[in-house]
């Protein structure tokens, strides 16, 4: 995961994942570098209790691997929601936003990141994932019973493996699969492909590799799990 220079506004649903188009809600991935916005003028901090009920836009003024301020537009007003963020995704019909920060649970060379959830209706935010890995992307899905789940793609910078977490926005991280990538998913099932260790270097160098096994998970069942808490490692 290497943030690119320049302003990137990408729709997650339009990325490489073969998610069913009717199952995934449109998300905006908004990433920008320091040249975006008014040079030298920082927006005010966001109000404790916003009067606007919609997050219209968000961007992170990050450069390369360095975190930067997260600027959101609440109604018509821009404000700074966090001083150190890496990426942001608007979810839940523009009522919530999740963003990644560099403060995770340690990990290889301290690469671990966390994910925080902001709710414009209450003006509050909370940590919903704290991991050993860097966060690549967040996908929002709605289950058949109408519950929201976040599928989080993560990566490590040693083996180069991908890892997949499932987050219940109300409870936090409830599931994680190591050395796996999403094969496909919808509001009911999540299909993961698992790879052997040597496969990751082949994938990193552009080879096409087929997972040695796939496994299907039921999202409603995963959402019933207890939240995962990580101890900071290594010591």
């Amino acid at each position: 995961m290497q943030p690119k220079q320049g302003r990137l506004v990408a729709n997650i649903a339009g990325e490489r994942r073969p998610w069913g188009p009717l199952q995934i809600l449109p998300l905006g991935l908004l990433l920008a570098t320091a040249d975006v916005g008014v040079a030298g003028v920082s927006p005010n901090s966001c109000p404790a209790l916003p009067t606007a009920l919609r997050i219209n836009a968000a961007h992170v003024e990050a450069a390369g691997f360095e975190p930067g301020p997260l600027i959101v537009t609440l109604g018509q007003n821009e404000c700074e929601l966090a001083a150190k963020a890496l990426r942001a995704w608007i979810i839940n019909r523009h009522r919530q936003l999740v963003y990644s920060t560099p403060e995770g649970a340690g990990g290889f060379e301290n690469e671990g990141q966390s994910l925080r959830l902001y709710d414009v209706r209450t003006g509050t935010q909370k940590e919903i994932l704290n991991e050993y890995y860097a966060i690549d992307a967040v996908h929002e899905v709605t289950t058949k019973l109408g519950r929201s789940a976040l599928i989080v793609d993560m990566k490590d910078g040693g083996l180069g493996a991908s890892h997949v977490a499932v987050v219940d926005p109300r409870k936090g991280e409830v599931f994680v699969a190591n050395k796996a990538k999403v094969v496909r998913g919808d509001g009911q099932r999540l299909v993961l492909g698992f790879y052997r260790d040597p496969d990751w270097e082949l994938l990193a160098n552009g080879s096409k590799v087929i997972p040695y096994r796939t496994k299907t998970y039921h999202l409603e069942e995963l959402l019933k799990s207890k939240p995962i808490t990580r101890r900071t490692q290594p010591q």
Binding site: Q2, F65, G157, G158, A204, Q235
Partner: protein
């Protein structure tokens, strides 16, 4: 589950490290170049709060049990000694694109925020010189972890300057092996 390759878990002074490397046979695996890292966490300022041998065990537990990797980096270079982690004659895990073809050398510290002082820098340069000399590797082919496009973070931090490290290795190789040809120099000259 990966098959864990084991660790050496021993520390060496520069001279002892040179003698140790001389004893290793590279019949089954040899790297093509070295990738240089920094630990990020622990920082150098925190490193000595825990005994080095305990650090090695904690790192082994993290890579083997938590990450479920088959190995870790090869060296951890501190301000006092050089720790050998993954055996130098097997491939390690440290940089996504180059694990099968490179040695991974960790410098203890976070050199985005900490001063890259002479103790760690000196030990790192000497360790790197010994590694390059052992297998006849070209120091100019040294890579920083952050040059791997598949990594996730800025490693080593900005206070580590690659050209300074390479220059230091070249100088150290000359002093470690006086009388040998100048390492990294292209073959040149005319026949008499």
């Amino acid at each position: 589950m990966s098959n864990w390759k084991g660790i050496v878990g021993q520390s060496f002074s520069v001279d002892a490290f040179r003698q140790y490397v001389d004893t290793i046979s590279f019949d089954t695996w040899r790297p093509q170049f070295v990738v240089l890292h920094n630990t990020g966490a622990p920082k150098l300022a925190d490193w000595h709060r825990v005994a080095g041998s305990v650090r090695m065990r904690n790192l082994e537990s993290f890579y083997r049990d938590t990450q479920q990797w088959s190995a870790g980096p090869h060296l951890f270079v501190a301000d006092d000694v050089i720790w050998v982690f993954t055996p130098l004659n097997v491939s390690g895990v440290h940089s996504p694109s180059w694990n099968s073809i490179s040695w991974g050398v960790e410098m203890v510290g976070d050199y985005a925020t900490e001063d890259f002082g002479p103790a760690v820098k000196g030990n790192a340069i000497n360790a790197l010189a010994i590694l390059h000399a052992a297998l006849g590797l070209d120091p100019n082919k040294l890579k920083l972890h952050k040059e791997d496009l598949k990594t996730t973070h800025d490693c080593p931090g900005k206070n580590v300057v690659k050209s300074d490290i390479i220059a230091g290795i070249l100088t150290a190789m000359v002093s470690l092996h006086p009388g040998d040809h100048q390492p990294g120099a292209a073959a040149s000259g005319t026949a008499a």
